[in-house]
Amino acid sequence: MNQLGGKRALKALVAVAILPLLAVAGCAGKTSSQGSAGGKAAPTDGVLTVGLLGDIGQPPDPDVYYANNGCAIILNVYEGLVQYKNNLDKVEVAPRLAESWTVSPDFKTYTFKLRKGVTFHDGTPFTSDAVRSSFARRAAVKGGAAYMVEDVASVKTPDAATAVVELKSSNSAFLDYLASPFGPKMVSPDGVKKNAGSDNAQTYLSTHDLGTGPYELSDVQVGSKYVLSQYKDYWGTISPFKTINMPVYDDVSSLQLAIDNGDVSVSVANLPSSSLKKYQDSQTVASYFLPTIQSAMIFMNPSKDFFAKQEARTAFLQSINQKQLVEQVLGARSTPATTIYAKGMIDDGSDKQNITYDPSVLSKYAKSLPAGTAMVIGHASDNVNAQQMANIVAAQLQALGIKASAQSYPTSQVFNWPNDPTKGPDVFFDGNNGPDGGSPYMWGHVFWDKTGGINYFKCDDPSTDADLNAALKTGDKALFAKAAQTYSATGCWMNLSYNKDWVVAQKWLTGVPESQNIGANELNFSMLSIKK
């Protein structure tokens, strides 16, 4: 009897314990925020949801931000004097806040005629003084892209609609600096002054904006979401999207499910190549492959015994079946690179990459090595495509008798290699990288010059650096091409593929190709619309 009574009491205890769970389950009905498989109709509330994969990483201050997906915010909230032309597969500088410009023959004086009727989001007018103060702020903040204005000697403002930029030395890449997504953006001088604090308004601009772009930064929840609201007095095209909601997804599978359910309207360059077929065949989601100046690349480490000699490096690069590797791993989002610079950087194709596929050269070289000679093929731990390429190449090398293995490295480690290349792998597959802008100088300097920042293993050729620096002063394309050929002959580096922005968007969204430009890697949301 007592035992039975005890059981009854315990049952009551369990019932009490279950109640909260039942309550929770009861609350869990379908809500309007949740989708069902198969996507959703176009929004009627004027909200466009742009899915970000991972947080933007740095504050959305145009003079601080120097990373990746946060450009979606910067480029829709701020504007520079010029930009690259939209919907074009080669770099061509186009007007933005400057309607026209002239460049002196010595590439030292750049004169801009500014657009009239433009206002900053704080209501103040955009004038030539803003050019001067914006350049000055960028230099003072000393962010990663401050180098773009380091050479500016002065900004003269003969009238409100004219800005004359004098450089300390000739620089044919200066317009590309300005057109770069990381280039100087116009920031309200009054707003900066008012919110300067002790850090040049950096604190203020981490959660607010002072730009002229089609959207204003209206909500910042670091790591969670960013919200843009349409600027009603914008001078340019106004889209039907009043609000841009940018939720942060930390897991690519979660992002894909949100796209599939229609909760995310568009996502730029976030999905892995393994999902290509799924979205290409989708009934509700469209895939766009849009041009960039980014590539997959191979960096050779000359500080490692294996690749100390140019012959060995070249033999390795010749063993890469470029076409097969690119098609197999990157698919429709890339094409094999045939030039040393990005596609279209040198119009006449004189930067043709002359590395012919011939695995027998490395095979012969491998036979001369002691048995079991090891080779580490590195890739960034967050780049699935590079990992796949490294694994495929490692397997191919093993067939040649080389003890090759693929190894992943965190980003912070990768970018520390220039301090000590001996700590890096023998060779590194970079799945996607590009310069800040479309000038051949920016490409050559960053990847080939040992002081460029992304010459991971400091595989340097002084004559290449000299040619690049000379060509920067004159804009001589032939000299840029010569620098490229010289560097390519060192076997230090290979341009593997021309990568494209793979944009996945709901089919009701229109204007995607028109809203993208080759340098931006992001969309201009004001140019997007809804299918009628």
Partner: protein, 328 residues
């Protein structure tokens, strides 16, 4: 009791000091370059060098450690290289989200654990299916549970949201469910709860089984113990027997396990937060590690260490309250 608290406090401080020294040493020997997180990956070597100097990273390690401790004493955990914000401010934003998630997950774990234990101890008909299901789910890693949950309940059935908290934290506690009630916003309370269900369950299943198994074994032993039979023989009511003799004598090991699991839940929240895009310290840590954002990594580690120590101290106190034979 007071002696116990003072002793625990002292040992906790020593532990935290040791933990901070280990983190500092690890930062030094890790090959990553945190300056890149601050200034941008493509920054020129000159810009990186200038930033390193301005961040004080060129100072000798012992000096930097002393500065770190000095700032720590003043509640200053430095500035995140990644977000460029004060780490204290970052934690202020992210910690409540994690605390709310873990609290709800802990409640789920306790409820499921009790259900698992009691249904097993009493051998109810049909509950073996439930226990079997819980056991199967517990064998899966949390990321698999999380992904499975999203696919089933968000993508296929559309019953629950697939991620984030569903609304902005508007204070004062940072716990959305509490804040929404304080603001009288029932709709937001329901939204917050819906967003919590999947991540909390993904986090709760394995701890629930761990707690449930210990509790079940304890209950079975105690219910057949001589003193319980004696209590019944004395004519005590079943409530008095259960409350005074069964539960109090069975709860000790389960409490101990619950404390341990609470600590594990805070540590294991990283994966679940990533999959559900939950804006908590787990996600903050996961984003900070690849770029060697040391101030952020150190702060989260210290916070997690402190929570673990406090949770275990609380468990000791609760055990002592439940079982007077324990001498603290």
């Amino acid at each position: 009791m007071l002696k116990f608290i003072v002793r625990r406090l002292g040992s906790s401080l020593v532990l935290i000091l040791v933990l901070s020294a280990i983190i500092f040493l690890l930062q030094e020997i890790t090959p990553g370059d945190p300056v890149r997180a601050y200034i941008g990956l493509n920054a020129s070597p000159e810009a990186v060098a200038a930033a390193r100097e301005s961040l004080g990273l060129n100072s000798p390690l012992p000096l930097r450690y002393l500065h770190f401790l000095g700032r720590l004493l003043h509640g200053d955990l430095g500035v995140s290289f990644r977000t460029h914000r004060s780490v204290v401010s970052d934690l202020g934003d992210f910690l409540p989200a994690t605390a709310e998630l873990v609290t709800v997950a802990f409640v789920f774990a306790l409820v499921l654990g009790i259900l698992f234990a009691v249904s097993g101890a009493l051998r109810w008909w049909g509950t073996s299916v439930l226990r079997g299901l819980l056991l199967v789910l517990a064998t899966g890693p949390s990321f698999l549970l999380a992904l499975g949950g999203i696919v089933l309940f968000y993508s296929r059935l559309g019953w629950l949201p697939g991620g984030d908290r569903g609304a902005n934290a508007s204070g004062p506690t940072g716990f959305l469910m509490i804040d929404s009630l304080l603001h009288g916003d029932v709709a937001q309370w329901a939204t917050a709860l819906q967003h919590l269900v999947l991540p909390a369950l993904a986090l709760a299943i394995a701890p629930a089984i761990a707690i449930g198994r210990i509790l079940r074994a304890s209950l079975e032993t105690t219910m057949n113990a001589d003193h319980v039979r004696t209590a019944r023989a004395k004519g005590l009511s079943e409530g008095a027997v259960l409350g005074g003799h069964v539960v109090r004598n069975s709860i000790g090991p389960a409490l101990s396990m619950a404390g341990l699991q609470l600590g594990f839940m805070f540590a294991g929240v990283v994966v679940v937060e990533q999959i559900f895009s939950w804006p908590g310290i787990g996600n903050y840590l996961a984003r900070s590690i690849p770029v060697s954002d040391f101030p952020a990594i150190a702060a989260v580690t210290l916070v997690l260490g402190t929570i673990y120590i406090i949770a275990n101290a609380l468990v000791d106190l609760l055990q002592a309250a439940a079982d007077p034979r324990l001498n603290l």
